[in-house]
């Protein structure tokens, strides 16, 4: 956990642990205000305002879902039009060949199906998941981030990062503990 010699693997970042969501939120805001940008905060449950505090304001999930819904609607309607009006033309009870009202239920279902798949796949892809290896898992106490502890990580790729100064900065935020995370 110390950083005494050069044989150690590269430093991923510094991880500060906090007791409460409010402490984490305050510390994250302080880190952002101090000019750190490659930061992320980790919590066992969503903390309101935390994403904004790390400088992340807008997700594009809803746009992806809208695109999915439109693709699904086009697919569902197009499929039915192709099936009964182009490929396998069949007179059913004298109805028009392009009898659009009866195409609506399937169009609706495919819209919902595509939108949902886009929502999940899009959310995971934008989050960079699945990600089996994460340097943070090397930190011994990081497992508690899914239990009841709150973490702030300042990553070494941040231009303002330098080991001792950043560590002092994190300690000044009343962290419970600050550890170095190695890659």
């Amino acid at each position: 956990m110390n950083h005494e010699n050069g044989n150690e693997p590269a430093v991923y970042g510094l991880l500060a642990e906090f007791d409460t969501p409010d402490q984490l939120l305050a510390a994250t805001r302080a880190a952002y205000d101090a000019g750190f940008r490659k930061i992320d905060a980790y919590s066992p449950l969503p903390v309101h305002g935390l994403a904004e505090a790390v400088g992340f304001h807008k997700t594009r999930v809803s746009l992806v879902v809208l695109i999915g819904a439109l693709c699904g609607a086009a697919f569902g309607y197009g499929l039915q039009y192709f099936m009964v009006a182009l490929s396998y033309v069949h007179n059913v009870g004298g109805r028009p060949i392009h009898s659009w009202p009866s195409f609506i239920p399937v169009t609706f279902e495919t819209s919902v199906l595509f939108a949902s798949i886009f929502a999940v796949v899009g959310m995971l892809a934008m989050n960079g998941l699945p990600k089996p290896y994460n340097a943070l898992f090397n930190a011994p106490r990081f497992g508690l981030a899914s239990d009841d502890r709150f973490f702030l990580c300042i990553e070494s790729r941040d231009p303002k990062f330098e080991l001792d100064g950043t560590r002092e900065f994190l300690e000044s935020l009343n962290a419970y503990e600050v550890t170095v995370v190695h890659d």
Partner: protein, 472 residues
Amino acid sequence: MSSRTVPITERADNPPVVAPGHDYRSVTQVISDVVLEFPLKRDWLIGFGIVAFFLSVLLVALLYLVLRGVGIWGINIPVAWGFAIVNFVWWIGIGHAGTLISAILLLMKQDWRTSINRFAEAMTLFAVICAGLFPLAHTGRPWLSYWLFPYPSTMNMWPQPRSPLIWDVFAVSTYFTVSLLFWYVGLVPDLATLRDRARKRWQQIVFGIFALGWTGSARHWLRYEMAYLLLAGLATPLVVSVHTVVSFDFAVSQVPGWHTTIFPPYFVAGAIHSGFAMVMSLAVPARAYYGLRDFITMRHLQNMAKLMIATSWIVAYGYIMEIFMAWYSGGQAEWFMVVNRMTGPYAPLYWLLWLTNIFSAQLFWFKGIRTNTIALFVLSIIINVGMWLERVVIVITSLHRDFLPSSWAMFYPTFWDWATYLGTIGLFLTLMFLFMRVLPAISMTEMKALVPPPAPLPTRQETVGHEMSVQT
């Protein structure tokens, strides 16, 4: 995390959503210990053995069906839709309460849904699996069931999308897929908790794979919450559409008793009625056995009982409107169907339906019954039976005597009808038994939002001097 406003339903005379005295850590412990630490007890094994026996009954019944064909069931012309369709509609209806609890109540910000939603979503998935088996088996040649889906075939034929039966294929398969996605997305943060808490290597690996490397990053949470909310928004109209399409299977036909516009709302309400009854039937024993009384409190059971009063009246409105419309339409066959339902050979089932589905639910008006878990359990089973009877009445009494008296006939279920039905209950309960053992049955992440956030640790308090230390 800011302080929540206290809704009217959290006044002192209402039991709390979470028993007092819990914090983040105890939520994690109580719920994840059921998965990671709970010993394999003999009574669990006995219970599992019983439900697995019924699962094997299903396998035998399906094997015999494949060997001999649908003639092993009591179906024939005119009652070509026997138990298979009754059970299909019953199961899919049971699934709907799961989506209602997880999606619609989420959108309405009903906190009390939190501890039962995971459980109810699992119920949805398993019920849809049971439901899907029936139409497949009912086709008679289940190995050709891919014909239901549109694909470019050498026969140069396509399914006919002017038929509600094809709408059903899309509705049910979409419903299953979306329910699975919703359930899994909800599980991911909890799987990460299990990964981090597991002490056995294989558990760490298995939960690690399914947790997808979840860390709880603030950026991830923001996208995650947005995706989850949108999924709930998508699932809400979906659940209404699915049972509407199921009711179209009936309503679009011209059979007396089926050809009616009340069917979609009446089917959706009935689905929710039976679904809440099933959640109740499962939650009452599960919370007792796994020690989850602090999280599935009397508040949940009472709220579900109150909702069932409401749904029972919507369903009763449907029954009454069916009668009224048959009379008002002036159609001879329609009116005959009503009289035949009330006084014909299946009349006892019809009156039993009123008794089990409508009148029994009125007992929930009494506080003494709403607060008695045994009474709730018994009544929920009765309502499940009632909703099954409703589908029997709709499917069988409508078909067995339609326009042409020379074609009238009776339907009697055979041994294999019952074996298949009981077998799917075995399949459903087997999956529930396994689910409760291997996955967190209550969402830890969402429960943590309901308990007070942790206070700063005492060792730190002396050094933490300023305002951010003690806010809650």
